[in-house]
């Protein structure tokens, strides 16, 4: 099929941009379609963690997939810096998952022991009681029972990442079409025609990276991506003097000095309005973690919708009825950005298929004998 583009990427958020960047590095001509300024935009709402510990409980391929991505991250960040001049402020100095009760502490240890058994001794972790934790993170409150620590974890500035990816994509000649909502996709003659609110585009390959929009779009190309919104709320505090260099699961200090405090997981439909009772709970928990933050001015709160699959794990699949159509969706677009650029994109470009991907096909959700839950 004659076309100006080798591949159309639907969705220019963190997932779409990372995939597009990887495809561009493979030498493909890429068109990116983006919905607009007030779309749900999961990419604007994330915590910035490059996080491995605890993920993939009950699905060790996901743990390995996350770990592999974390390992690819330094080279990924360096490449973005070199190409765009934007420093995404990657810091991988280890992360702490706070446990606020004994029960949480035990559950955490069990989880990590299981993961270590599955993944191998490279999956190193420490369980820290209150005293040890306080010796490593002064300022931890007396209400914190302990924490798990791994050196695998880190954080990054997600907005700078987004900026860098966009700049890199445009720098490599991607055609970015903003304010285009995709209305229809047709497969014919070995290619795809995507009809948007403002015109149509064609290409032999198609990547669905439209977040919550994937659910409807996947259907059109013989893919199954039953994603639902899961709301997370975050408080953002003013800039303060440096007080915390390691990311923790509830509180992190960004490279700019602002404090990010999260988070929550609620199923409340397509609703990205903040709810006071949830914000208050998040605030109270942050004070338990670090009592000195009591006087921190909260400047912004936001709620964003995670793109949540029934089991919480990604969906990566190529369509069999419409070969050349791919769906890529997850709710850890930051951690997995490196993998998306450096392992998913080559697969989409026709190169090696990562072996982990079998587990992540969308059709797993069609199995009537399995039950899914996503509260990991």
């Amino acid at each position: 099929m004659a076309a100006d583009n080798d591949v159309i990427v639907v969705g220019a958020g963190l997932v779409g941009s990372a995939v597009a960047y990887g495809l561009l590095r493979q030498g493909l001509r890429v068109a990116m379609l983006d919905e607009g300024d007030v779309a749900f935009r999961a990419s604007r709402g994330n915590f910035g963690l490059v996080w491995v510990q605890g993920k993939g409980y009950g699905c060790s391929p996901y743990a390995r997939w996350s770990l592999a991505s974390a390992r690819l991250w330094p080279a990924f960040a360096a490449a973005l810096l070199e190409e765009t001049g934007v420093n995404v402020e990657l810091v991988q100095n280890g992360g702490f998952h706070f446990c606020l009760t004994e029960a949480e502490f035990f559950e955490r240890r069990e989880r990590l022991q299981w993961l270590q058994a599955e993944v191998g001794p490279e999956y190193g972790f420490e369980m820290l009681g209150q005293a040890s934790l306080r010796s490593r993170l002064p300022g931890v409150g007396p209400g914190v029972t302990g924490a798990s620590y791994t050196s695998m974890d880190g954080h990054v500035n997600p907005l700078k990442l987004f900026h860098a990816l966009h700049k890199a994509c445009l720098g490599r000649g991607a055609a970015l079409h903003g304010n285009r909502r995709v209305n229809d996709i047709r497969y014919a003659d070995g290619g795809f025609t995507v009809t948007t609110s403002r015109g149509a585009l064609s290409a032999p390959r198609l990547v669905l990276a439209a977040g919550l929009g994937n659910k409807v779009l996947a259907d059109k190309v013989g893919l199954y991506a039953p994603v639902e919104p899961n709301q997370g709320q975050v408080l953002v505090g003013e800039r303060i003097a440096p007080f915390l260099r390691n990311p923790t699961i509830y509180v992190r200090q960004t490279d700019e000095g602002t404090i990010q405090i999260g988070d929550s997981m609620e199923d409340c439909g397509y609703n990205d309005t903040t709810r006071t009772e949830v914000l208050a709970k998040i605030a109270a928990r942050a004070i338990v973690c670090f009592p000195q933050l009591a006087n921190l001015n909260i400047v912004r709160c936001w709620a964003a919708l995670r793109v949540m699959s029934p089991d919480g794990f990604p969906i990566y699949q190529e369509s069999t009825t419409c070969p050349g159509a791919f769906v890529t969706t997850c709710h850890s677009g930051v951690t997995l950005a490196a993998a998306h650029a450096q392992r998913i994109a080559p697969w989409i470009a026709g190169l090696s298929r990562p072996e982990e991907l079998d587990v992540f096909s969308g059709e797993r959700f069609l199995d009537p004998h399995r039950e899914f839950h996503n509260d990991h």
Partner: protein, 461 residues
């Protein structure tokens, strides 16, 4: 104090006091929340504490607030001062800070009267110490009898600029210059509206009298001023501009800027109410019906400059209209009894709004002073320049929320109040699109910063 009043009014300016007074006299339980100690809002700031000398200096429009404040005090409405409202929900829940604790009220109707604020004036050097708004100078005069020590330099356009100059003259403060951006094209634009403005003769007369005083006093006017820029390294030292075909440089450590006021729309945006771009006033206005009911949000009404700039008298009338609407909704007044009052108020409102098209046309802020050159700071809090925002547009950002995520513009403590309009217009200009298609920041609570401890304390409500 009731935690469930019938009506909560937010803002104790002309609109808020009028709404609270009428609603309370109509039998509703009313609580009025305001950030200041005493009532008055901005135009009647510190009115209840004003000594006679200050009333004289500031003039009759200020003194008029005294009677309104007294009526309000006698009305039975509860006045909660030093209250910082940080959230209003669609269901009528109002969360506010008072004495370091977060409190909550649940009302059947909320009347938003948060008024207006100065339009941003992004010119080179506008963030230097020594650069303030004319409104700020007025507040210092009204609330603290504090005035410039050196001859004052005023720059921009609009009635408030001239009013301040007049008040300074009466207070014995010397004016070094009024650098007026109004030019011939503004007069031409305003001419078609003059007949209607003449019907609002008292307003026109007031304005002309004011200008006469300034001319008689010999206040230097520089007309048609363009290319305004403020010089200084750590503080303002001088202002440069072009006027009458010549370039000028006035040495001064204090520059008072003004180019109109715009509605304070943080609450209405946070309620996700629809807004429209007003092409005459170059600002966003919440979509409301004639009584002030917010579209799509049954329990909230808006009155005063917050629904569109109209001045104090119009604000008071709108306050009464909103109160009448709320009283009807609460069945505290029958439609038969309300109708004549509403009709009378509506025609009174029309009279007071007649001058607006003329003023909006005559004192339309210049494009160059709203859509600045690349090196001018647009976001004061995060120090983002106009050029950066234009770069983000080139990278594909189509609206303010995307530019916010790329460059932090709008993420600081002022929550976009001082950069929002500029960013919308900048992006529209760069994209060759209309402001209404570009949109505005997504505004969310807290409407004012709140500490973690205060936020956490809301759980006890």
């Amino acid at each position: 104090m009731h935690s469930e009043p019938d009506i909560v009014v937010i803002g104790a300016g002309p609109a808020g006091m009028a709404a609270a007074t009428l609603a309370s006299s109509g039998g509703a339980r009313v609580a009025l929340l305001d950030e200041q100690d005493g009532p008055g809002g901005q135009i009647w700031r510190s009115i209840t504490a004003a000594p006679e000398a200050r009333l004289q200096t500031l003039g009759p429009d200020y003194a008029a607030g005294l009677r309104v404040a007294r009526d309000f005090a006698a009305s039975g409405a509860e006045h909660i001062g030093r209250a910082t409202v940080w959230q209003v929900t669609r269901e009528g829940v109002v969360n506010y800070l008072h004495a370091g604790v977060s409190c909550s009220l649940r009302a059947k109707r909320v009347i938003l009267c948060s008024g207006a604020m100065e339009r941003p004036f992004p010119i080179p050097g506008w963030t230097l110490p020594g650069v303030m708004t004319a409104g700020a100078a007025q507040i210092l005069l009204k609330s603290a009898d504090t005035v410039p020590t050196q001859p004052a330099v005023l720059a921009g356009c609009g009635p408030l600029l001239y009013l301040l100059a007049w008040q300074y003259v009466r207070a014995g403060v010397s004016i070094a210059a009024i650098i007026d951006t109004t030019d011939a094209s503004d007069y031409r634009r305003a001419m078609p509206h003059l007949p209607r403005a003449v019907m609002a003769w008292p307003y026109l007369q007031k304005g002309l009298a004011l200008l006469r005083v300034l001319r008689r006093k010999g206040v230097p006017f520089f007309k048609g001023a363009t290319q305004l820029s403020i010089e200084g390294h750590d503080a303002a030292q001088a202002i440069r501009f072009t006027s009458g075909g010549k370039s000028h440089r006035l040495q001064t450590e204090l520059i008072l800027l003004h180019q109109g006021v715009v509605p304070n729309t943080q609450f209405t945006w946070a309620l996700r109410a629809p807004h429209s771009w007003d092409t005459a006033q170059l600002c966003w206005r919440p979509d409301v019906d004639e009584l002030g009911r917010l579209q799509d949000v049954d329990q909230v009404l808006v009155a005063g400059d917050g629904r569109g700039i109209g001045g104090a008298s119009a604000a008071s009338i709108q306050g009464r209209l909103a109160a009448l609407a709320a009283l009807q909704d609460l069945a505290l007044i029958s439609t038969d009894k309300a109708r004549p009052q509403i009709d009378a108020a509506r025609s009174e409102l029309q009279r007071h709004l007649r001058i607006r098209p003329f003023l909006d046309a005559l004192y339309r802020p210049k494009d160059a002073n709203r859509i600045p050159a690349d090196d001018v700071l647009v976001c004061r809090c995060e120090e983002v320049t106009a050029g950066s925002i234009r770069d983000f547009v080139k990278l594909g950002c189509s609206g303010p929320n995307q530019t916010k995520s790329f460059g932090r513009c709008g993420m600081g403590p002022c929550q976009g109040r001082l950069c929002g309009l500029t960013v919308t217009e900048l992006i529209a200009d760069a994209r060759k699109a209309l402001p209404e298609d570009v949109g505005y920041y997504r505004i969310r609570p807290p409407i004012k910063p709140i500490t973690l401890a205060e936020l956490s304390s809301t759980r006890d409500n």
